[in-house]
Symmetry: C2
Subunit: 293 residues, 2 copies
């Protein structure tokens, strides 16, 4: 594996790869890698000649009172995991090169960026889209891999790519979970053992909601009410949002008649955890088949 | 010459050109081509294997009370000029493909975009940077050519390219003028014969200012005052701004001790005309040489 920490060297390497007509699969991360990241890397490994992983804790996507300075790090372990999973290039840029002093250009996906997580984290998605666009320009990937745990991020990046005519496929990969169901996240280390146990209620509440919708429940209000009750059982927790949205534009749905995405953000202690699940009535498929027939 | 009006065909063509390792020079325009544009095309022709010109009157860079609907058009003539000057591909996209109904992603060069022309035309440069980025992504040029008449645009695009790590050289080309000195612009057709004559005062005032600075005048206030008096002699005119700025960050300069850019925007009748010139004292070079010695 080639570890590259400056842009000039990366540029040279990328030109060489492109000259040789090799396809590049890209996995942008903030490091402290877990099995969620690894699933993206493995998928990229299967589908591309070259796999590039970046590690960059991007300051522009953190709010002033968020966990930028305490965000967990373990470069040595990250590097070992990348080697084990046959990453070709690990790109670890430094902040001064990514954001020179007079940096001032930002990308905004208007609308989508100010709902859900964007509403409680103003500027967060502007930071995400800006760094992702910069990394795409640096890495020139054919394919880029994102975990669906950050479902809104995935939708926003797909939108940016379409709107800006970027020549990269955005591939969303399934959420990877711990054995107790909690979605893997670098931020799970912020949880105490007790909090960790209770945080499993988040995914449990999503599973219950999915079951109810499958069986025919159509009222979003009812489902959200059930999830709220369950999450309120977690000690020292604060619900940020529970929303039921269409999966493409993330518009809130009142009556569930199509496939939906249920999205949760919830503080457990100091950790802000997010999770989501797709849900649809078992009748929907039958109805779609019928209208086609 | 190959005229392409849809994105899919352009993509196919560009992949083919890139596969063959050909360099692409790009000249983005809003059409109604004049010798200013031609100078960009000729320069691109000299420096690249392939020359691509786009014609797109970009709605997002026009304000609600501006001249979007009346902007002059002459596609037949534009096409003939492109053929004559050996353009390989003329790209004329349609608005629905460039801005689909739910389009919502914008690029902002914060700061630089809200001064000078950006101050009187809010949103203008956001429209410019967004369309230029989209076109860069579609065309994948090695080199892109812009006229220095739109000096602020040139500075902003260079900034965007650096900040977003775009892999394209931005080449600013000298202002092309009519025989009477007026800077070539598609908008000059808005001028009556009388207005046209008086509009030459704009460039005359810039030349006078340049001479005074060369001879040692250091006070921006004094220079601006002289230009103001000259422009006020134009009937039916309204000065938008007269500024003396450093050439890189466009910060206003009070005392002229380095090279500066003098920038003017002035309405003559309904036409908003812009022009600019670089100026420096003849002593500056001597002083620089001295400090080096």
């Amino acid at each position: 594996m080639n570890t590259i920490t400056n842009i000039k060297l990366l540029n040279e390497k990328i030109s060489e790869l492109k000259k040789n007509g090799l396809s590049i699969g890209f996995v942008p991360t903030m490091g402290y890698l877990h099995d969620g990241h690894i699933s993206l890397i493995d998928r990229a490994r299967e589908e591309n000649d070259i796999v590039i992983v970046s590690i960059f804790v991007n300051p522009t996507q953190f709010g002033p009172n968020e966990d930028l300075t305490s965000y967990p790090k373990n470069l040595k372990n990250d590097s070992a995991m990348c080697i084990k999973h046959k990453v070709d290039i690990l790109f670890i840029p430094n902040n001064d090169e990514i954001y020179p002093d007079d940096f001032s250009t930002y990308v905004d996906v208007v609308g989508l960026s100010s709902i859900l997580c964007g509403s409680s984290r103003p500027g967060h998605f502007r930071g995400v889209t800006t760094i992702v666009l910069k990394l795409f320009n640096l890495v020139s990937p054919q394919n880029a891999y994102f975990g669906l745990k950050d479902y809104q991020q995935f939708v926003i990046i797909k939108k940016m790519v379409r709107d800006l005519n970027l020549n990269v496929n955005i591939i969303g990969c399934p959420i990877v979970r711990e054995s107790d169901g909690i979605a893997m996240s670098s931020r799970n280390v912020y949880l105490s053992e007790d909090q960790r146990k209770q945080a499993t209620y988040i995914y449990q509440s999503l599973r219950e909601a999915k079951r109810k919708i499958k069986r025919g429940e159509r009222s979003s209000a009812k489902i959200i009410d059930d999830i709220t009750k369950r999450l309120e059982m977690i000690e020292d927790s604060k619900i940020d949002y529970i929303k039921i949205c269409d999966p493409y534009f993330l518009e809130e749905v009142e009556e569930i008649t199509e496939e939906v995405r249920i999205l949760i953000a919830c503080f457990v202690g100091n950790a802000r955890l997010i999770d989501n699940i797709s849900a649809k009535s078992k009748w929907i498929k039958a109805i779609i088949d019928q209208t086609k027939g």
